[in-house]
């Protein structure tokens, strides 16, 4: 009996883990990858957007007031830009090639990718379009509610 319960619990936890994995994968990751060429150091930070959006639900509105005030009345534009970015195919938007620096801004598989390669450092930034827009809209929404409360 105990053995069967153990198996059921294991299956249940595996199922939950799989669902969580799928949800994290679906929401995407913000990735910050910085390589300092002069010091030889590297910082790699992958942040699951699912956790960012969950954190926004937990953080008190007052804490986000300053950030959200900057986004006031921009939620419609964010939605419009997100729609346009989501609709357009994978493309390179900006490509700058200099003697010492290269900059690339592109859309790759639902993500915006920013690559900067200079003599001193290599920076790679990636964020999912839809999940990031969702987070921004959430912050803007907080501000609207917040201003109504006051």
């Amino acid at each position: 009996m105990l053995f069967k319960l153990g198996i059921a619990a294991a299956i249940l936890s595996m199922g939950m883990m799989t669902m969580l994995g799928v949800a994290i994968h679906h929401a995407g990751f913000i990735v910050v990858d910085v390589h300092d060429k002069t010091k030889g150091e590297r910082v790699f930070v992958p942040v699951p957007m699912l956790f960012v959006n969950l954190a926004l639900d937990v953080v008190p509105d007052q804490r986000l007031a300053r950030l959200s005030s900057r986004l006031q009345d921009k939620d419609e534009w964010v939605a419009a830009v997100t729609h346009e970015l989501s609709e357009c195919p994978d493309s390179t938007f900006v490509e700058i090639e200099g003697r010492e620096d290269q900059i690339l801004v592109a859309k790759k598989g639902g993500n915006i990718v920013i690559d900067v390669n200079s003599q001193d450092a290599e920076v790679h930034l990636r964020f999912p379009i839809r999940s990031t827009a969702k987070a921004v809209a959430r912050i803007a929404e907080i501000d609207n509610q917040h201003s109504v409360e006051f």
Binding site: H83, E84, E95, I96
Partner: protein, 183 residues
């Protein structure tokens, strides 16, 4: 059976319409090359995205996609009056600039405001701007340029080269087409 056929036909039409819409999406391309500095800048952006971004541009001189120019530098009101006069005259050469390096002609031809280099000009500047874009840009009030309307007019004007500058130091090309990649 008929329902299945109708559903299949409906889905096919939707897919085709979606594909056509995706294919006809216009892109604005800006390419700048400066061989002396070994620099290349390539910008490829859907016009509809530029249109969406316009209201976001909020600097001191830009408000709601409209540029407010300093009255001392240039009066948009006067420019609007001059443009109205010139527009009513039809195809005409407005300005001719001649100095030791540059020789340029500014004129309207059909639906376009054109800038072309004259003979002996070392700098080759070519511009072909739809008149509707200039009209839209000057459709703001007072000392404002209506950039959002200009971008919208540009989107409706179709594909083609807008600006081509060939100088001894740099090459600049701005054009619109239906591809997300540079030609």
């Amino acid at each position: 059976m008929q329902i299945r056929r109708a559903l299949f036909l409906f889905l096919s039409v939707c897919l085709l319409a979606g594909r056509l819409q995706a294919e006809t999406k216009q892109w604005v391309h800006v390419h700048i090359e400066d061989p002396s500095k070994e620099e290349k800048v390539k910008v490829n952006i859907p016009i509809s995205l530029v249109e969406s971004l316009m209201p976001m541009i909020e600097e001191k001189s830009v408000e709601k996609g409209r540029i407010r120019l300093h009255e001392k530098d240039m009066s948009i009101k006067d420019l609007r009056k001059v443009w109205k006069e010139l527009r009513s005259e039809g195809d005409n050469e407005f300005v001719s600039i001649e100095n030791k390096d540059t020789n340029l002609r500014v004129f309207t031809k059909g639906n376009y405001l054109m800038v072309e280099p004259g003979e002996g000009s070392t700098t080759s500047i070519e511009m072909k701007i739809p008149l509707a874009v200039v009209d839209a840009m000057l459709s703001g009030e007072g000392e404002e340029l209506n950039l959002t309307a200009a971008v919208r007019a540009l989107k409706e004007s179709g594909s083609g080269d807008i600006i081509t500058v060939k100088d001894k130091d740099a090459t600049v090309r701005v054009w619109i087409d239906e591809s997300n990649k540079a030609r």
